[in-house]
């Protein structure tokens, strides 16, 4: 369990990860439990259509056929709830990865060992990736099993695609938080900035289609690359996924370079 920093990171996070998994399982189960009601009540769609388009766009994206499994899951889950919660998880992880140890004062002890600083960052990063993957796999399994129970007829590969797309988005913002933590050594700053950027990116993506002058900027939001191609219906778009992966790599590199070059706080 303590063979390397990756394993120790998993050990440190085991309880927190367990509770996150329970939270995601409950969230999936509750949403699925409501679906049969929605499916059998076609007036819901008409009711939703009575809302202003702007209002719906902010919380559920482009709502098309709310009573279909894909429409329901996209609108209720994958547009807002799932990516934001996952983002909170990854940003929390990334911001504390280096800055947390620095603030607690344990970084001196860790780095007194013959370890390159880049290796410490990289191992923590791998820890973040593994934990986030575990969380989305658990969530995918919850939806797959629950969906089968209520006969949703979901395409499990497409379901995996949208879950994974959310994972890529979360890691991108986790990387931003990691970078700020590596550069400034303050968990709070990293979490605040990372979280705020996530919310802005979400709003940009959600509102841009409705506001003329904002529309060209939609492609600047990582959320666009997460959901615009509708992975739940169409599978993963390799270009969009590539953008998110590229973003993560760029920030990881910046994190390592800044961390290698600065004094460590006591």
């Amino acid at each position: 369990m303590f063979r390397n920093i990756v394993l120790k990171t998993l050990y440190d996070r085991r309880r927190s990860l367990l509770f996150w998994c329970i939270g995601f399982i409950l969230m999936g189960a509750i949403l699925l439990a409501f679906f049969p009601v929605i499916r059998d009540a076609p007036f819901i769609s008409e009711y939703l259509e009575s809302f202003p388009e702007e209002f719906l766009a902010l919380f559920a994206g482009e709502v098309t056929d709310y009573t279909s499994p894909e429409g329901y899951l996209n609108g209720e889950l994958f547009f807002l709830m799932y990516p934001l919660l996952l983002l909170v998880f990854a940003v929390g992880f990334g911001s504390g990865a280096i800055a947390g140890e620095e603030e607690k004062g344990t970084l001196d002890l860790l780095l007194s060992n013959p370890l390159n600083r880049w290796r410490v960052v990289l191992e923590k990063y791998i820890g973040m990736i593994i934990c986030t993957l575990i969380l989305i796999i658990v969530f995918w399994a919850t939806l797959a099993i629950g969906g089968a129970i209520i006969d949703m007829g979901l395409n499990l590969a497409r379901l995996a695609a949208v879950c994974f797309s959310g994972f890529l988005l979360a890691i991108a913002f986790g990387s931003v938080a990691l970078t700020i933590g590596c550069a400034r050594g303050k968990t709070g700053v990293a979490m605040g900035v990372g979280g705020a950027l996530g919310v802005y990116a979400y709003m940009l993506n959600a509102l841009a289609p409705l506001i003329g002058w904002l529309e060209p900027f939609q492609v600047a939001s990582p959320f666009y690359y997460y959901i615009e191609a509708n992975p739940l219906s169409n599978g993963l778009d390799p270009v969009h996924a590539g953008v998110l992966i590229g973003l993560s790599i760029v920030f990881l590199v910046i994190a390592i370079v800044t961390f290698e070059r600065r004094d460590l706080a006591v």
Binding site: F2, K104, G105, T106, D108, L109, P114, D263, V266
Partner: protein, 303 residues
């Protein structure tokens, strides 16, 4: 000191922070097998010097080598050969002592567990307790064990005895003696003069970021000012003592004598022994008194 006998070589090392004081123009050589004490009050740059040697801080000016290797270019290799105890140690509170040591040993490619258990035994340290539940002194012990356990060629210990009870301090001194006898090198910082006297060969005194003196401990002892208080069964006269060389500030109240002694106390003690002595109290010199010794000396040189 011959060239290849030098373990730590510091040359014009300067570290400036924004407003905080750092260290200024430190020059220092420490030889193999030496126990060197880095002495000064808290917050004068001891930790800054040490953390620069471990490559946690990058110097503003100057350079340093450890085992002849530049600390900036060969940080990994130097750290591999150093056992380090951070000042104001913080460890992973969610682990037990043995889990922490297991983690640390993996990062260094293994450790002799027999020796770890021996160290834990000598420090009376329970390896199975969660570090969170330990007292400050016991946390310090696990820090010492992890520094010692790889039998490194060089130990860099920042305020190693803080929080240890006197018995454990003695055990620590014994271990340092053993390390010295094995020809390994110890660089330790302290703000306590007696500790440095007990365990070190040489001492560097740091004040306000500057290394103001590097001396053999014997020389320092000889120069140190001590405040003595001697109680007699019957009253004594001050004249008997005030003429003894090195003795100053003699005051006598009835049968109680107080004075300061620079260096040797032998003559004073022998003079006192002419009477019936009931008690002798020796106040160890404070850091400030040691500094005053040096400032007085500098003053003497000028006049």
């Amino acid at each position: 000191m011959t060239e290849n006998n030098i373990v730590i070589h510091i040359e014009g090392l300067t570290k400036l922070y924004g407003k905080q004081r750092g260290v200024l123009d430190i020059d220092l050589d420490i030889a193999r097998g030496e126990v060197f004490g880095y002495l000064g009050p808290n917050g004068v740059g001891k930790t800054t010097t040490i953390r620069t040697l471990l490559h946690f801080l990058f110097p503003t000016r100057g350079r340093a080598t450890i085992f002849g290797l530049d600390i900036a270019q060969h940080s990994l290799e130097t750290r591999r050969r150093i056992g380090y105890l951070p000042g104001e140690l913080e460890t992973y509170n969610n682990l037990t002592g043995s889990e922490l040591l297991e983690f640390m040993s993996h990062l260094r490619g293994g450790v002799d567990w027999q020796y770890v258990r021996e160290l834990a035994g000598r420090f009376d340290y329970d390896l199975d307790m969660k570090i969170k539940s330990l007292s400050h002194g016991n946390r310090q012990k696990v820090g010492l064990i992890q520094a010692f356990m790889n039998k490194p060629e060089l130990l860099i210990l920042d305020e190693p005895t803080i929080g240890l009870d006197p018995l454990m301090q003695q055990e620590f001194y014994r271990i340092v003696d053993e390390i010295k006898s094995e020809g390994r090198t110890v660089f330790l910082s302290s703000h306590i003069m007696p500790e440095v006297e007990r365990v070190c060969d040489r001492v560097g005194i740091i004040r306000e970021g500057r290394l103001i003196a590097v001396e053999d401990v014997d020389v320092l002892k000889a120069r140190a000012i001590r405040r003595l208080e001697i109680h007699f069964e019957s009253p004594v006269s001050p004249e008997e003592f005030s003429n003894i060389s090195g003795v100053r500030d003699v005051e006598v109240h009835e049968n109680r004598l107080t004075c300061t002694v620079a260096g040797e106390i032998d003559t004073l003690i022998k003079a006192a022994a002419q009477h019936h002595v009931t008690n002798v109290i020796s106040h160890e010199p404070s850091m400030e008194e040691i500094f005053l010794t040096y400032y007085n000396r500098e003053g003497d040189n000028v006049s």
